[in-house]
Amino acid sequence: MAVNENRPVLQFAPFQSAVDEGFWQKLSSLKLDTLGIDQSPISITGFYAPCSHAQVSNHLTLLAESLPSDPSEQLSSPVLSRGNRNRCPVPGILYNTNTLESFHAIDKQSLLKAESKKIWEDIRSGKAEEDSALLSRFLLISFADLKKWSFHYWFAFPALVLDPPATLVDLRPASQWFSVEEAESLSAACNEWRNSSSTADVPFFLVSIASNSRATIRHLRDWEVCQGDGQKVRPKSLFAFFEKFILFLFGLYDPCHLPNNPGWPLRNFLALICSRWNIEKVRFLCYRENRGFADLGLSLVGEALISVPQGRAAENGVCLGWRDPQFVPNAVGWELNRGKKVSRCITLAQSMDPTRLATTAA
């Protein structure tokens, strides 16, 4: 299907990072006590939650708990820190260098490519449907200057690029999309999902609204279950599955607050939807909250068209498609600093430098 030139390209608001002081303090002590000059990558955990206020987006936050107590152990068997509804864990990787020069010399393109390849492989293997947080895997490079108590760092939130990009058919506040009954049932189902400790930190899900206006939320893995079960019974299972429901949406916790743009996590979700489930017209729900409860006025429902990239001339002239096992889509996602392609730096001398602490305490 050709892209309609008149339809706008679906644009995503970039994820924003926020690093707690505790993260840098813990990294410093890890470096001093355990890591030494070892520059091996470390598995870390970031946290985010749905947007919960009309005026501010939520961030991907790093806390002291984001770092493992014993990095060597954790890398072999990564165990995500326990989350709760206000901190959904997301896996990430940290490359900390020993000098500023090596920090700047890092081949950022290759690292981004490597991380996006992991996301792609998790989509292809079905792992991302079991653990949807894998879709938001992130990357952090840093140089911890322990003499000056300053930390240079740069985040990347790898997003698989759809080529051509998805176009937008419709995007509205969810409250305008649903009938009153549907909205009530959907809010109740979302609040239930968010309040149950087993699902509160699961950021991607399936929403269906039956003809009696009753909303149901399911895990991504249940897509396969529905399809598989049906196929055993009747061949036109997928069709029957859709027929049964008036509305079907792909839901996600949206950290973004903007009224006209979904947040970054939708990007890799769309890649999953079109590569695993071959859907070209995607209806999505950007789930947002107010004061911790579902807010369908802030939440968005959108309809996007994806032209599944069938084939694309690679540099060597060979035509590769998303079906090709060797193919890995391009990725973007290095975070900008005030609109610029520069790293960030924070100085914590005031709270970490013992001589300064002694002065302020006097």
Binding site: Q11, G22, S52, L258, N337, K341, I346
Partner: protein, 314 residues
């Protein structure tokens, strides 16, 4: 389970008599806050800083990324310019809850029931602008000029699906309030000495205050604790809000000193009881957060209270 692990000096509730909380009452009130206002969560914090008298998974309460759209100082200017009456509470028998412009009894050491404080006067400067320099830090000092390290254009590919800052300008209303947004992590710990909750503020800067287009997709950087005082009611900024080590988190954080919390809570409870409302101890934190809102009026944390405070005898 939980109850056996909790050992505190107070076994009989003094909630109504003194406005204080026992440790187990703090946990009960915290559970209630988390269930009614789900933006709040219990956390366990730094393992090395855990208090043995609190359950491991319920060391303190926190709500993150709370917007603060305006500086408290500017709110008060407008309020004074309007010659106005207090907007926050009508309990005018207590300075902390009454008018901002004319506090009546905010001096902590007048209170005999509580030990005196040594650390209250953090700055004699009257203007909040001078506070950053008092600590020898410029607001922007954190971020050195990294221009020489700016990456070539090929690092971040032009991607039609990435929302650029210029689009944000077009889409956002021309609202000056957005320019001044800071965000806060607000946490509540239990202060064993004063037997009350204690509030802590960790601020994140409005980095792009010079260029709001960039701010919207720009960095969220830690705010120096001293700058937090701009978001504190000016009656309290130099007296009751201090910069101290957080009991569960690393670093210095701004905190409302708890020396008078018990007395203030006692007054609130008395007022309620005089109206025939018998406050219940699990509602303590809602009352407490309502009172804290008079100290940090522009930080929009959640303490929604759309239910009964207690049993009414009427």
């Amino acid at each position: 389970g939980t109850v056996e692990r909790i050992t505190g000096p107070r076994t009989v509730s003094a909630f109504k008599e003194k406005g204080v909380l026992s440790i187990s009452e703090f946990v009960v009130a915290g559970d209630n806050l988390v269930s009614k206002c789900p933006t709040w969560s219990w956390e366990s914090g730094e393992p090395s800083k855990r208090k043995s008298y609190l359950p491991v998974e319920k060391q303190y309460l926190i709500t993150r990324n709370v917007p603060c759209l305006r500086r408290a100082a500017s709110v008060e200017e407008e309020y004074e310019a309007a010659g106005g009456e207090i907007l926050l509470d009508n309990e005018d028998n207590d300075g902390w809850l009454a008018t901002h412009g004319k506090p009546k009894e905010t001096k902590c050491d007048d209170e005999e029931n509580f030990p005196s404080m040594e650390t209250l006067e953090i700055s004699k400067n009257k203007t909040i602008q001078s506070i950053p320099s008092y600590f020898g830090g410029e607001e922007e000092e954190d971020i050195p000029d990294m221009a020489e390290y700016e990456e070539p254009d090929n690092l971040i590919e032009t991607d039609a699906a990435t929302l650029q800052s210029s689009y944000l300008v077009v889409h956002e209303p021309d609202d000056d309030n957005i320019l001044r947004t800071r965000t806060y992590d607000v946490s509540i710990t239990y202060d064993k000495y004063y037997q009350t909750p204690r509030v802590w503020l960790t601020g994140y800067d409005e980095v792009g205050h010079r260029n709001y287009a960039l701010w919207l997709i720009s960095s969220r950087m830690l705010l120096q604790p001293e700058l937090v005082l701009e978001d504190v009611s000016q009656d309290h900024a130099h007296k009751t809000v201090t910069i101290e080590d957080h009991p569960h988190l690393p670093g210095k954080h701004a905190s409302v000193h708890p020396c008078r919390h018990g007395a203030v809570m006692k007054k609130i409870i008395d007022v309620l009881m005089s109206r025939g409302v018998e406050p219940e101890v699990d509602k303590y934190l809602f009352l407490f957060l309502k009172f804290v809102a008079s100290v940090i009026p522009t930080i929009e944390y959640d303490y929604t209270m759309d239910f009964d405070l207690g049993s009414s005898s009427n």
